[in-house]
């Protein structure tokens, strides 16, 4: 034993310094800055409700942690044996202590259980204050968003107005997924042939990343999306713009021998049209995401690949190399064809049309 105790003491000198360093690192790590997908900085009522329960349980857990670990560590130093020690008192237990340390955790749990149950019931009820219904459908591996109120459908970016509750009705087109946008709401799994519900209302315009949280096959990691919260006027401008890009006749067909026209022609002849719709208005769900407005989306390939011309070109050249297992096959396009297609897809950009809002934003 003589050998062990000095080495233990030497190690012990480092313990406080180590603890402080680790605690500081951990605290720094717990700051949500730099984590766009954090759960620790809620920006909507639903996420706020979850966060309150989390904080309560985290505070209690922290107190219990320091008390129990403290008692353990103190005992380890206080009761270390020395050579020649007599046999310690042979204590078999203590009924009073057993009762006390059964009761104390039970009391602490009440302080977690009460807000837990309250919040369960609060979050279970969708507010009835004229919510905006969005039908969310998970697909391997992208998200589809349908706005029945406006008869619109889109993918990848979910636009929502601030100040209005969003009522998500969610299902899947294939396997299970889970819709998770941490700053706005928690997770909700989606099942075939079943509507699952989630809701939130945010007052803060911004772009909030989210992603699939239930393993759903090869590209589970690349099934992200963005929730774009906009002031009501901006949101209306977006949806009117999306409807407008879906009906290009209004804005005139592209010049017959332009790059855009060539791209449009390729889109129709190179099998693109078999899987993708380019009209958001009343379009059916197809194999691939709806492409109305794709030109102005934040990302492609489901919310993670920035929507640049280079990335679009990489994608069109060889989608399997960018996202293996994705349903889109390699189409064997030439560079010239890709350039034309990109020009066409860029023409499918939502141009927010504030002027149009006044005429059409009477849906409510």
């Amino acid at each position: 034993m003589a050998l062990r105790i000095p080495s233990l003491r030497r190690a012990a000198r480092w313990v406080p310094a180590l603890c402080v360093t680790l605690a500081m690192l951990a605290l720094a790590g717990c700051s949500p800055d730099g984590y766009p997908q954090t759960t620790l900085a809620p920006k909507a009522d639903f996420a706020e409700l979850l966060d309150q329960v989390f904080r309560r349980s985290f505070q209690l857990a922290t107190i219990v942690f320091f008390l129990v670990e403290g008692a353990l560590v103190w005992a380890l130093f206080r009761f270390r044996g020395k050579p020649g020690d007599a046999e310690p008192e042979q204590n078999h237990g203590n009924t009073v202590l057993e009762v006390v340390w059964t009761a104390i955790p039970a009391v602490i749990l009440v302080f977690i259980a009460v807000p837990t149950v309250q919040t369960i019931f609060k979050t279970a009820e969708v507010p009835t204050d004229n919510p905006l219904v969005i039908e969310v459908t998970g697909h391997q591996w992208w998200w589809e968003f349908r706005y029945p109120e406006y008869n619109l459908v889109t993918a990848g970016d979910m636009h929502v107005p601030t100040g209005r509750t969003v009522d998500l009705r969610m299902t899947t087109g294939d396997v299970l997924h889970s819709f998770w946008t941490p700053q706005l709401a928690g997770k909700r799994d989606v099942f075939p042939k079943r509507d699952n519900r989630l809701w939130f209302k945010t007052e803060t315009p911004g772009t909030y990343p989210g992603q699939c949280a239930e393993f759903c096959g090869t590209q589970h990691a690349r099934m992200a999306f963005q929730v774009i919260a906009q002031a009501p006027a901006d949101f209306d401008a977006w949806r009117v713009g999306l409807a407008a890009v879906s009906a290009p006749a209004d804005s005139g067909a592209p010049a017959p021998d332009s790059l855009v026209a060539r791209g449009q022609q390729l889109f129709a002849t190179k099998a693109c049209v078999g899987c993708h719709a380019v009209s958001a208005v009343g379009a059916p769900t197809m194999v691939g995401p709806n492409l109305a407005g794709v030109g102005s989306r934040s990302d492609i390939a489901s919310g993670w690949l920035p929507n640049t011309d280079e990335n679009l070109a990489r994608w069109l050249k060889n989608p399997q190399a960018v996202k293996s297992g994705v349903l889109m096959p390699n189409l064997g396009l030439t560079d010239e064809e890709i350039t034309a297609l990109i020009a066409y897809l860029r023409s499918l950009s939502v141009v927010p049309a504030p002027g149009a809002v006044a005429m059409t934003a009477t849906g409510n």
Partner: protein
Amino acid sequence: MSTIAMGHAGTEAAPAEKKGLWSWITTVDHKRIGILYGVTAFLFFLLGGLEALLIRWQLGAPDKTFLSPEAYNQLFTMHGTTMIFLGVMPLSAMFFNYFIPLQIGARDVAFPRLNAYSYWVFLFGGLVLNASFLFNAAPDMGWFAYANLTSKQFSPGLNVDFWIIGLQILGIASLAAAVNFFVTIINLRAPGMKMMRMPMFVWMSLITQVLLLLAFPIITVALVLLMLDRNFGTHFFVPSGGGDPVLWQHLFWLFGHPEVYILILPAFGVVSEILPVFSRKPLFGYAAMVFSGCFIAFLGFGVWSHHMFATGMGPMADTVFSLGTMLIAIPTGVKIFNWIGTVWGGSIQYKTPMYFALGFVAMFIIGGLSGVMHASPPADLQQTDSYFIVAHFHYVLFGGSIFALTAGAYYWFPKMTGRMLSEGLGKVHFWLMFLGFNLTFAPMHILGLNGMPRRVYTYSAGMGFGFWNAIETAGSLILGFSFLVFIWNILKSLRSGAVAPADPWHGATLEWSIPSPPQEWNFAVEPTVDSRDPLWERRRANGGTLPEPARVSGKGIHLPSPSYWPIVTAFGTALTLVGFLMHVNLAVILAGVAITMIGIFSWAFEPADH
């Protein structure tokens, strides 16, 4: 009673010492089977660890392409499946095998040949599962295998089938072993060892066997249904035919949650043996420890849906499963407090087993506290399927089970091999493992709360996950290295370690009353027990020391004879199920059934001695 009942005054000659490969293949000695379990499980554990290191390397920086998505999904599925079914469970089975009979004063388990059968079925199951790598068809849908991703439509390859069949084979091994240990503990205790005098490891093992017996039939049924869906066109879990993927989740977690306690209760038992011995003081609150263990196991069957809060079960189900889950914190807390009560006021001997046992208590507290946090559905809606959960269950299963099993390995190695492990290397192992473990898994709490989901093969740089993932990967390398130190310690000590006396630690239980390693018959004379710490009583009665027990001739001791029928029957069992894996190949299935039947008959009619 078994054929090896004590006090059987036979006229048999002393059993000859058994050597060579054949003696291992035909052995029915619980100690040798225990060693087989231990070596096999440790090799599988290293394989699972290697898979973990590949996973960590891939995640060490954003957007890495070290592993393809397909390879990553296979590796994380196989890592989980391997660690649970081929690592932690059979490592516990090593200790059940070796030490239940020794701690209760028995000469073997109740059914020695069934014991051998369990081991061989386990080995074949592990091999079948890992053979999937050879066909580039390793399971790739997660160890939870959620329907309907597992349907033929979305997983057309053999990956899911390998998983189903591998787990079915392993389930047979677990069930056979559970029956065996349950009967052994109930029937073969030495005179005077009442239930409330059993060593705590035996108690926790007994509870684990009950959990195995009740939980494994559930996964067996679920796997049969899944196999029917995939091979015979049924629709239990396929929504297009009216089936329900949620049914799979209920069945899986109805098994899966008790499985968590199957993984941790043996660890509780090991630590409850070690803390008193190295505190030189009896276990604090023995009865509270027993009943809290029973209570945890009982509640463990009623909380499965806390894995499913995000499925939208409705507020009433959420409430019930949440409160039930929180209740488990109470008996678990009782255990932790009693462990601290055990060392409190003791005279702590800082030997390597004690380091790991104390490391277990310290780490398990963290895993327990994070567990309470996501027992609350509102908090869980953010935490579930995030890295916070990965952190939580590694604190429970690595910080808990693996630390405790390692403690058990250091504690019992001298008994099993007759050699002491090096204390110096042991402590290097401990500090490296402790450091590596915390560097690997503590940052996962931070990442999970900051939005990193589980089971992702990569993440984009903009998500901010890179820094802590790099730390974790560095930690995992330290963790991996700590096991190299452990292996080095084992190899070095086996060759040249100090010779172990019968009782190197001043133990309290019967296994320390016999030579190290024990002779084949364990106890030449049936021990009698009249307290919970029989050896401490004997030592006190003897003035503080006990004489080194002599190795004796086994003349007159009847032992079951070796048999190769267990391995034959196990092979037949595995072959039958492999037939289902081979697109329901009737010829293979029938051959398997035939071999199994021949094995069982020959086993049944084999003469007791030859």
